[in-house]
Structures are given as C-alpha cells and as structure tokens.
C-alpha cells in the first residue's frame, strides 16, 4: 500500500482540527496579545511533538497482530464518532460547527477576562487559551498520526501530512486574519470518519485473525462501502418536507 492514502487522511483530519485551533488562536491573539498567544501555541506544539516522538516509535515495537487489533478497534470507535457527528450535523439533527460564532464566543470571553502575568508569560489568559486550544485539537491529530503511521510503519509520512495541513491552515489564517468559516468542515469530517472507520475495520479484523478476501485490495472495497452506508444513513435521516421547522429547531436544541 502506498503512503498516499495515509498522508491524505492525516492531512484532511489535521486540517479540520487546525482550523478549529486557528479560531481559538486568532481570538486570543487579536483580542489579547500575540506574544503570549504564540508562547501558548509553541508550548502546546512542543507537548504534541514529544507525545509523537515518544509514542510513535514505542507503539511500533508491539507485535503487528496486537498492534492491529488494538489500533483497529480504537480507529473504528474513533471513526464512528466522527461519522456519527458528521451525519447528525449534515441532516440537521445537530447544529453545524460554526467557526464564525465560535470565534465571537472566544473573543467575548477573552475581552471579559482580566490580565495577569506569570514568569515570562505576560498575559496568562492568552497563553492558556492558545495552549489548551492547540493541545486539545492537536491530540486527535496525534492519535491519528500515531495509529495510522504505526500500522503502516510510516509515522514519518503521517507527520508530513499533519505538518502540511498545519502549514496550509496557518498561512491561510495569517493571510485572512479571520476564522476560516467557509471551509466545508463537516464534509471533511465525514470523509475522515469514513477513512478511519474503514481502516479500523480492516486492521481490527486482521488483528483478530481474519484473512481479508483480496488481502490489501479489500480496502478498495471497504472504503466505498463505508461511504455508501454512511450516505445511506444520511439520506434516511434527511429532513422530510412534511416536518415542521419548529420540530426541527427543537431537535437541534436538544441535541446540540
């Protein structure tokens, strides 16, 4: 199997999380101050790099069967989470993640918070906001980088995909100086959910001892099948013309 599906999946997954992190970083930087924001961001990136550097090589030492069983299970569970949310959002049962309103919420909170300094950090609020935002959004990416990379014995390719996504989002964010609200985040999450679930099923079953018909080529069937089933569920849950807007609004309020 080539490294391309690995790099592309990690790239898209990382881009989605980087867009969410960018919203938080911009709110901290533009509302508070950039120096502390960059310090927080750098500290979070350093923690994430240490996690990849320590866990990446360690996990590849596990026997391949055990690795595939555990990682496959985790990826399938994780992928199903992403797919579930993406389908609920696409069909209006859960409100879409809106970067513009998320940005406004963060800005309001950042303006209301008082300033205090600690050590070399001038604005502790900006530091912690950027640190938490980048760390929490980055953890999902680290999980995908390590599990995907380790299973294909190519953590380096996964890191390349992640780094490229961070670079693209960061450059775009600097150019626009606003949250990237027009990016189709849900469609991207849907695509990543399909890939994670398909790879999770493939590796998990292999780890349990299964021999896939067609071996690696089974993935070429599995990915479209997961996509088709997910699209089928989306069509089934699609709002019907007979349902009132009020009913849909109340459902959204309950599920969000």
């Amino acid at each position: 199997m080539t490294a391309l599906p690995l790099i592309l999946t990690v790239f898209v997954a990382c881009a989605v999380e980087a867009i969410e992190a960018l919203t938080i970083v911009l709110a901290a930087g533009l509302t508070r101050e950039w120096r502390s924001t960059f310090q927080g961001m750098a500290a979070a990136l350093a923690v994430l790099a240490v996690i990849v550097a320590v866990l990446g090589p360690t996990i590849t030492l596990l026997p391949l069967t055990a690795l595939r069983l555990v990682v496959g299970a985790l990826l399938a569970i994780f992928g199903l989470q992403w797919l579930r949310k993406a389908i609920l959002r696409a069909t209006g049962h859960k409100s879409l993640h809106d970067e513009a309103s998320a940005y406004l919420r963060e800005v309001a909170a950042a303006k209301a918070a008082s300033a205090s300094s600690r050590g070399r950090v001038h604005d502790w609020y900006a530091f912690t906001l950027a640190f938490k935002g980048v760390l929490l959004e980055g953890l999902e990416v680290v999980f995908i980088v390590i599990t995907f990379g380790a299973n294909q014995h190519n953590v380096g390719a996964a890191v390349i995909g992640a780094a490229a996504a961070v670079a693209v989002v960061a450059v775009t964010g600097i150019a626009v100086r606003a949250p990237l609200a027009k990016v189709p985040e849900n469609a991207m999450k849907f695509a990543v959910g399909i890939m994670l679930t398909a790879f999770g099923i493939f590796w998990g079953a292999e780890g349990a001892g299964v021999s896939w018909p067609g071996h690696d080529a089974a993935l070429l069937v599995l990915v479209p099948v997961v996509a088709l089933v997910s699209l089928g569920y989306t069509v089934l849950l699609w709002p019907r013309p007979g349902r009132s807007q009020v009913a849909r609004s109340s459902e959204k309020a309950v599920s969000s």
């Binding site: 069983l69 199903l80 579930r84 099923i201 299964v210 089974a218 599995l222 569920y233 309950v254």
Partner: protein, 66 residues
C-alpha cells in the same frame, strides 16, 4: 482525586465519545471474530463490518429519537 476523575472523564470522552454502545459493539464484535477464527475455524471477515454498520445505524436512530 478530582483531578484524576477529570482526566479519566477527558480520556473517556476522547476515545469513547457520545455513545458508549458503539464502542462496546466494536469490542464485542472483534472478540467474537477472534473466537470464530481461532476456535471455530471460520474466516469471519464479514462480522466486524456488519456489526459496525449496525452500531452506527442504531446510534443514529437513538440520537434522532431522543
């Protein structure tokens, strides 16, 4: 203790997410697959995909009905 609880809650939410039933179905399906392959001698490649699709449908149905 509080800190430990919040760390545990974070990792539970991170890995398992909104619906623990989905995670349970995946783990049980993998265990059943291993039993079928190693104890019964059936190459049950179909079991995990079938369970995953059923779990997703079940979870979506619960979420939209609640």
């Amino acid at each position: 203790m509080k800190r430990l609880k919040s760390i545990g809650a974070f990792w539970y939410d991170f890995v398992v997410g909104d619906d623990w039933r989905v995670a349970t179905v995946v783990v049980v399906a993998l265990a059943l697959t291993a039993v079928l392959v190693h104890a019964v001698g059936v190459n049950a490649w179909w079991l995990l995909p079938a369970c995953v699709f059923a779990a997703l449908g079940w979870s979506l149905r619960r979420a939209t009905r609640s």
